[in-house]
C-alpha cells in the first residue's frame, strides 16, 4: 500500500494524541507519559510526511487528491472532506511536522514543571492537526477549518497561563484580530463560489477564465485581508507581539515557524489568481515590504528578547509576502522554510535563556551568558547569522533570492528590502551581543543559578541550528548555474520556478555582494556598540536616535492609536446601544405606547363616575345631538 492511498494518515497522529490527552488528562501513569504521547504523535506525523513526500516523488504524479466524505451539501454546493498532496503541501507538511516534532521534544524539558503539562501537550497536538488540515485541504472551506483551528489553538496557547491578566487578554486579542482577517477570507470564499461555482482548488484553477478583472481583484484582495490577519501584516499585525505571553515553545511553533506562515501559504496556494495581471499582487508586495521595514524598526527599540524576535517574525513574514506579491512563489516558500528553521532555533534559544535566567526576559538584564550556556550560545549565534543573511547560511540564500526578484520587479521594493536586511542584521546582533556577550549585568544570586538547559531542549536547538546553517542548500542560486532543489521540486506547480534564472550571473553576484555587505555591516555596527559596552551601547543608541528611539520603543504608538481609533469608539458604541439606545429609545417607545394606552384608559374611566345625574346628562346630550343630526340629514 502506497502512502499516497492514505493521505489522512498524516492527520491521525496529532489528532489521536490530542484526543487521548484531552479526554484522559489525569488517568495515565506519570505525567511524562502524556508528553511522550504527544511527541510520538508529532513524530509519527513527521514520518508519514516523509513517506508521502518520497512516494509522491516516486509516483510522478503532480497532485494526489482523496475525498473521504461529503461534509456540506446545500444548493448546488458540495464540500467534501478532501485532502490533496502536491509538492507545495508536501513541503509545508514536512516543515510543520519536522519543526513541530522538535519543538514538542523541546517542550518535554521546558514545560516539565508546569502544572498544566497535559493541557499544554493537548493543545500543541491539536494545533498540529489544524495546521496539517490547513495545508492539505483540497478546498477553501476545509482549509478554513484549519485556518480557524490554528487561530483557536493560538488563542488557547497564548492564554495558556490564564491567571495572568495580560495572557488571557493577549489570547483574546489574537483571536479577535484574526477574526477580522477571517471575515475577509469568508467573503473571498463567497465571491469564488459566485464566480466559479466551486470551492475546490483544482476546479477554480481550471475555470479561471470565468473571472473578470474585477472579480480577480476583489477575490485576491479579500484573500490577502485574510492573510494579513493570520500572518500578522499591516495593519493586523498587532496581535503577534502580544502573543509572546504564551510559553516560549508556543512562540516558536505557532508564532514563528508555522501558523503565521499560513497567510503566505494561502497566497501561494491561490497563485493562479494572484498571478493574474489584475490581481492585488502589487498591493501584497508593497504591504509586505512596508511591514518588513516597519516591524524591523520597532525591533530595534525593544528590550524584551521575545518581543524583538516577534517583531522580527513580522518583518520576515513581510519578506515572504513581498516575494509572493511579485510572483516569486518559490522564493517565498524557500524563505518560509529557512525562516522556520532559524526562527524556531532563535525562539527556542531565547526560551533556553529565559528558563536559565528564571523568567527574565529583558536583554538589558542579561549579558555574558556565552560561557554558562555554551550550546545555547552556539546555536543562537548560528541562527542569528542565518537570519542576518551571512553567507553561506540558510537565510542568505533565501533572502537573496527574494531580493533578486525584487530588483527585477521594482527598485523601490528592492531598496526597502535591503534596508530591512541591514536593520535585521543590526537588531539581531544587538540581541546576540547584549544577551551572550558584553559582561554580566545580573545579580550574583541569579548568576549562580544560571545553567545550561537539559538535553531534551538542547537537542532541538542543535538540530535546528544545523538546519539553519545548511538549509540554504535547498535552493542554491539558479542564476549561477547551481541546482535549486526546491524550485525543481515545486516546478510542476508554480510558474516562477525558474524565473530568477534569467538574471545575468554578474548581476546576481553583485546583488549578493550588496546583501552580504549590508548583513555584515549591520552585525558589525551592533558588535561595535554592544559587544563590549553592553548597556552603555544601548544608551548611546538611544542618544543617537533621540526622539525616534522613544517612538520605536513604544512601537510607533500603534496600539495606542488602535485603542483610540477603533477599540474605544466601538466600545462606546456598544455601551451607547446597550445602556441608552436599547432601553430608552427602542424599549422606551414600547413602554411609551403602553403608558399612552394606560393614560387614555385612565381618562376614560373618569367618565364612569357612578352618579345617576351624570349618566342622565350624557344620555340627554346624546339624544339631543342625535335628533339634531337627524333633522340635519332630513333636510
Amino acid at each position: 500500500m502506497s502512502p499516497l492511498d492514505t493521505l489522512w494518515l498524516v492527520l491521525l497522529g496529532p489528532a489521536l494524541g490530542a484526543l487521548i490527552n484531552g479526554l484522559w488528562p489525569q488517568r495515565l501513569r506519570g505525567r511524562v507519559t502524556h508528553g511522550v504521547i504527544a511527541c510520538v504523535a508529532a513524530g509519527f506525523a513527521f514520518v508519514v510526511a516523509i513517506l508521502q513526500h518520497i512516494a509522491l516523488g516516486a509516483s510522478g504524479q503532480e497532485i494526489v487528491r482523496a475525498s473521504y466524505f461529503t461534509w456540506i451539501q446545500a444548493g448546488n454546493l458540495t464540500v467534501d472532506f478532501a485532502l490533496r498532496l502536491d509538492p507545495l503541501s508536501s513541503v509545508m507538511c514536512l516543515t510543520v511536522t519536522g519543526v513541530g516534532f522538535l519543538i514538542h521534544v523541546y517542550s518535554l524539558g521546558y514545560m516539565a514543571h508546569d502544572r498544566d503539562y497535559v493541557r499544554f501537550f493537548t493543545n500543541m497536538n491539536l494545533f498540529l492537526t489544524a495546521m496539517l488540515i490547513l495545508v492539505t485541504a483540497s478546498n477553501l472551506p476545509l482549509m478554513f477549518v484549519g485556518w480557524e483551528g490554528v487561530g483557536l489553538c493560538s488563542y488557547l496557547l497564548i492564554g495558556f497561563w490564564h491567571r495572568r491578566e495580560s495572557a488571557s487578554r493577549a489570547g483574546f486579542k489574537a483571536f479577535a484580530v484574526n477574526r477580522i482577517g477571517d471575515a475577509g477570507f469568508l467573503v473571498a470564499m463567497f465571491w469564488c463560489w459566485k464566480v466559479f461555482a466551486t470551492l475546490e482548488f483544482h476546479e477554480i484553477f481550471e475555470r479561471l477564465e470565468l473571472a473578470t478583472a474585477v472579480d480577480v481583484r476583489w477575490i485576491t484582495l479579500l484573500l490577502f485581508v485574510g492573510a494579513t490577519g493570520k500572518s500578522a501584516q499591516l495593519p493586523l499585525y498587532v496581535w503577534l507581539p502580544d502573543a509572546m505571553e504564551g510559553p516560549t515553545p508556543v512562540s516558536a511553533l505557532i508564532h514563528a515557524a508555522t501558523m503565521v506562515t499560513a497567510g503566505v501559504y494561502l497566497v501561494v496556494r491561490m497563485h493562479p489568481l494572484f498571478h493574474h495581471p489584475e490581481s492585488a499582487g502589487v498591493l501584497v508586495a508593497w504591504v509586505g515590504a512596508l511591514t518588513a521595514i516597519f516591524a524591523a524598526t520597532i525591533a530595534v527599540g525593544q528590550r524584551d528578547i521575545k518581543r524583538v524576535l516577534a517583531y522580527s517574525t513580522v518583518s520576515q513574514l513581510g519578506y515572504m509576502f513581498l516575494a509572493a506579491g511579485i510572483g516569486a512563489y518559490v522564493a517565498a516558500i524557500f524563505h518560509l522554510v529557512t525562516h522556520a528553521f532559524f526562527k524556531a532555533c532563535l525562539f527556542l534559544g531565547s526560551g533556553s535563556v529565559i528558563h536559565a535566567c528564571h523568567e527574565e526576559q529583558d536583554i538589558m538584564n542579561m549579558g555574558g551568558l556565552k560561557d554558562k550556556m555554551r550550546t545555547t550560545h552556539w546555536t543562537f549565534l548560528a541562527a542569528t547569522l542565518a537570519i542576518a543573511g551571512v553567507f553561506p547560511l540558510a537565510g542568505f540564500f533565501s533572502k537573496d533570492e527574494i531580493l533578486a526578484h525584487a530588483f527585477q520587479a521594482n527598485r523601490g521594493l528592492y531598496v526597502i528590502g535591503i534596508a530591512c536586511a541591514l536593520l535585521t542584521a543590526f537588531y539581531m546582533g544587538r540581541v546576540l551581543f547584549l544577551t551572550f556577550y558584553s559582561g554580566r549585568r545580573m545579580r550574583d544570586q541569579a548568576w549562580e543559578k544560571v545553567h545550561e538547559s537539559p538535553p531534551s531542549m538542547t537537542f532541538a536547538l542543535v538540530v535546528l541550528a544545523v538546519l539553519a546553517v545548511f538549509g540554504g542548500l535547498l535552493g542554491l542560486p539558479a542564476g549561477l548555474g547551481l541546482p535549486h532543489f526546491l524550485a525543481g521540486y515545486l516546478a510542476p506547480l508554480l510558474p516562477d520556478a525558474h524565473g530568477a534564472a534569467h538574471m545575468p550571473a554578474r548581476l546576481e553576484l553583485a546583488l549578493m555582494g550588496i546583501s552580504l555587505a549590508l548583513a555584515i555591516g549591520g552585525l558589525f555596527a551592533a558588535a561595535s556598540l554592544f559587544r563590549v559596552r553592553g548597556a552603555q551601547g544601548e544608551e548611546r543608541l538611544r542618544k543617537a536616535l533621540g526622539g525616534v528611539h522613544t517612538l520605536l520603543a513604544n512601537k510607533w504608538y500603534v496600539d495606542e492609536v488602535y485603542a483610540a481609533v477603533v477599540v474605544s469608539p466601538l466600545s462606546r458604541l456598544a455601551q451607547a446601544v446597550s445602556d441608552r439606545f436599547d432601553p430608552r429609545v427602542v424599549d422606551g417607545l414600547v413602554n411609551g405606547v403602553a403608558a399612552a394606552v394606560g393614560w387614555g384608559s385612565e381618562r376614560q374611566t373618569r367618565t364612569q363616575t357612578g352618579r345617576i345625574r351624570d349618566y342622565v346628562l350624557v344620555i340627554l346630550t346624546g339624544a339631543f345631538l342625535l335628533v339634531l343630526g337627524l333633522i340635519a340629514l332630513g333636510r
Partner: protein
C-alpha cells in the same frame, strides 16, 4: 395509527397524568415528565426514520379530521423536510429542559412540569399543523404555559417580563388572526380553505396590494417572535427572568417559530409581499446582527448577553430565508437547529452556575477554569460553536446563510453578506470576552466555598447537546440533504408564482450562474439603484 398526532399529544397525556398524581411529590413529577419527553423524542426519531428525505412533499400525514366543518377547519398535521428538523429539535430540547429543571425548580414542581409538557405539545403542533387555523390555535396555546413559566417560576422582575412577553406575542397573534380571516374571505367562494398546502397554490394569485397588507399582518407577528430589530426588547427581559428551562425553550424553539412562519406562510403565500418587503427584512436582519452583537458586548448579565446574541444569530437565519435560494434556506433551517442547540446549551450552562452562586453577573465570577474544569471546557466548546468555529455546528449555518445571501438576486445582496460577516467578528468578541472574565484569572473566593463541578444529570444534558453540536458540525450533509427538496420547492413556488414580473437581474435560483452575474460591470455592491 396516527403516529404524528400521537407524538404531538403524548406530552399532554403526561401533563394529564401529573394533574392526577399531583400529590405524588416532586421527584415523581420529574421522573414522569422525563419519561414522557424521552418517549416523545424517541417517537419523533422513529417518525424521522420513516421520512423520505428525497421528497419535497408533506409526509407522515395523519388522516384529516374535520374540526369545524362549517368553515372547513380541520385537524390536519404533517411534516416536510423543513418542519421535520424543527419538530425533532423541539422534542430533543424538551428532554434537555426537563433535565435542566431537575434541581432548579423548587416550588410547585408538578405545576411547572405540567406547563412544560403542555408547552411541548403546543410547539410540536405549530410545526406540524398544515391547517392555518390549527396553526394559529397552537401558536396562541403556547403562550399561556410560557407566560406562567416566566411569571411564576421566574426571577425578581418576572411579572414585568411575563406581561411584556405576553403582550408582544399576543399583539402579533391577533394581527395574524386578522390576516387569516382576510385571507380566507379574499379567496373566491369555492376556493376558500384553511389548508396550508392548498393555500400555497392559491394565495400567491391574490391581488398584489392585498398581498402586501397580508404580508404585514402575518409578518409583524413573526418579526416580533424572531425577534427582528426593533421588536426585540421583550427578549432580554424574558430571558433574564425566565427559569433555565424556560430560557432553553424560549431561545431554542420559540424564536424559531417566527422564522418558520416567515418561511412557510409569508414567503409561501405572498410572493409579491416577499419581493417588496424582502429588502426591508434583509436590512433589519443585518442591523439585528450588528446591533445585537454590539449590545451583547456591553452586557454585565450573562443571560442578557446570550439573549442579545440570539438577536444577532437569528439575523443570519433571516438573511438565509430571504436570500430566496436553496442554499440560503437550507442554511437558515440548519442555523435554526444550530442556534437551538448552542444557545440552549449556553442557557443550560449559565443556569448551572446560577444555581450554585445565585448570580448571573459576569463580575461576580472569575477563574472558574481551575475550580470547575469539566464545566469550563464544556462551556468553551459551546461558546465556540456559538461563535461559529468550523468543525462545530454554528459555522455551517453561518457559511450557508451568508453565502446564500451573497449569491442571491437582490441588488444589494453582496453588501448584506459583507455586513453580515461583521457579525462573525463581533460574536467572537462578546463571547470570548465574557469567557475570559468568567473563567480565566485568579479564582474569586466565595462564602460558600469552592464551586462543585458538573453533576451527573447536568453532564447528561450537556453531553447530549455537545453530541448534537459536534455531529452537525462534522457531518451535516445528511441533514442538509433532507432539507433540500422542501427548500427547493419553496424557491420554485416563489419563482413560478411571481411569474412574468420582470426583475432587474436574472434570479440565480439554484446556483450562481457559471457565467458571473455581474458580467463586466462593477459588482452590484457599488450600484446605486434598488430593487424597487
Amino acid at each position: 395509527m396516527p403516529w404524528l398526532t400521537i407524538t404531538i399529544f403524548l406530552p399532554t397525556v403526561g401533563a394529564a397524568l401529573l394533574t392526577v398524581l399531583r400529590r405524588s411529590g416532586g421527584q415523581g413529577a420529574r421522573v414522569i415528565s422525563l419519561a414522557f419527553t424521552i418517549l416523545t423524542a424517541v417517537l419523533s426519531v422513529a417518525l424521522a426514520i420513516g421520512f423520505n428525505g428525497a421528497s419535497p412533499d408533506y409526509q407522515l400525514e395523519d388522516p384529516k379530521v374535520p374540526w369545524v366543518p362549517a368553515l372547513g377547519i380541520n385537524f390536519h398535521v404533517a411534516l416536510d423536510g423543513i418542519s421535520l428538523w424543527l419538530f425533532l429539535l423541539t422534542t430533543f430540547l424538551s428532554v434537555i429542559a426537563v433535565l435542566g429543571s431537575w434541581t432548579s425548580i423548587t416550588k410547585h414542581d408538578s405545576a411547572f412540569f405540567i406547563c412544560l409538557l403542555l408547552l411541548e405539545t403546543a410547539m410540536l403542533g405549530v410545526f406540524a399543523a398544515i391547517d392555518l387555523v390549527l396553526f394559529y390555535v397552537f401558536w396562541e396555546a403556547m403562550l399561556i404555559p410560557m407566560y406562567l413559566i416566566i411569571g411564576v417560576w421566574g426571577g425578581a422582575r418576572r411579572l414585568y417580563a411575563a406581561i411584556k412577553f405576553f403582550l408582544y406575542t399576543f399583539v402579533g397573534g391577533v394581527l395574524m388572526l386578522a390576516g387569516i380571516i382576510i385571507l380566507y374571505f379574499a379567496l373566491p367562494e369555492p376556493d376558500r380553505t384553511f389548508s396550508i398546502p392548498e393555500l400555497l397554490a392559491r394565495a400567491p394569485q391574490l391581488d398584489g396590494s392585498l398581498q402586501l397588507t397580508l404580508f404585514v399582518l402575518f409578518g409583524l407577528g413573526f418579526a416580533i417572535k424572531v425577534p427582528l430589530f426593533p421588536f426585540h426588547t421583550w427578549l432580554p427581559d424574558a430571558h433574564v427572568e425566565a427559569p433555565t428551562s424556560g430560557s432553553i425553550i424560549l431561545a431554542g424553539v420559540l424564536l424559531k417559530m417566527g422564522a418558520y412562519g416567515f418561511l412557510r406562510l409569508c414567503i409561501g403565500f405572498f410572493p409579491v409581499g416577499t419581493e417588496v418587503f424582502g429588502p426591508v427584512l434583509m436590512w433589519l436582519a443585518v442591523i439585528g446582527i450588528i446591533y445585537g452583537g454590539a449590545a451583547a458586548m456591553w452586557q454585565t448579565d450573562m443571560k442578557r448577553l446570550i439573549a442579545y446574541s440570539s438577536v444577532s444569530h437569528l439575523g443570519f437565519v433571516m438573511l438565509g430565508l430571504f436570500a430566496l435560494n436553496p442554499m440560503g434556506i437550507q442554511g437558515a433551517v440548519l442555523q435554526m437547529v444550530n442556534h437551538g442547540l448552542s444557545t440552549g446549551a449556553l442557557f443550560l450552562l449559565v443556569g448551572m452556575i446560577y444555581e450554585r452562586r445565585h448570580s448571573r453577573m459576569i463580575a461576580d465570577y472569575g477563574g472558574l477554569w481551575e475550580e470547575v474544569p469539566v464545566y469550563s471546557r464544556i462551556f468553551l466548546v459551546v461558546a465556540l460553536s456559538s461563535i461559529g468555529l468550523p468543525g462545530l455546528n454554528g459555522f455551517v449555518g453561518e457559511l450557508l446563510t451568508l453565502m446564500g445571501t451573497f449569491t442571491s438576486a437582490w441588488v444589494q445582496a453582496q453588501l448584506w453578506a459583507i455586513l453580515g460577516c461583521l457579525g462573525v467578528i463581533i460574536s467572537a468578541c462578546y463571547l470570548l470576552w465574557m469567557y475570559k472574565r468568567v473563567f480565566y484569572g485568579e479564582p474569586k473566593p466565595h462564602r460558600d466555598g469552592p464551586m462543585k463541578d458538573i453533576n451527573t444529570i447536568e453532564a447528561t444534558a450537556a453531553v447530549m447537546l455537545l453530541a448534537g453540536i459536534v455531529w452537525l458540525g462534522v457531518y451535516p450533509a445528511p441533514v442538509l440533504r433532507s432539507i433540500k427538496p422542501a427548500a427547493v420547492a419553496v424557491v420554485n413556488r416563489f419563482e413560478v408564482s411571481r411569474g412574468n414580473v420582470p426583475r432587474t437581474k436574472p434570479f440565480a435560483d439554484l446556483a450562481p450562474d457559471v457565467a458571473p452575474l455581474g458580467g463586466t460591470e462593477l459588482p452590484a455592491v457599488f450600484s446605486e439603484d434598488d430593487e424597487q
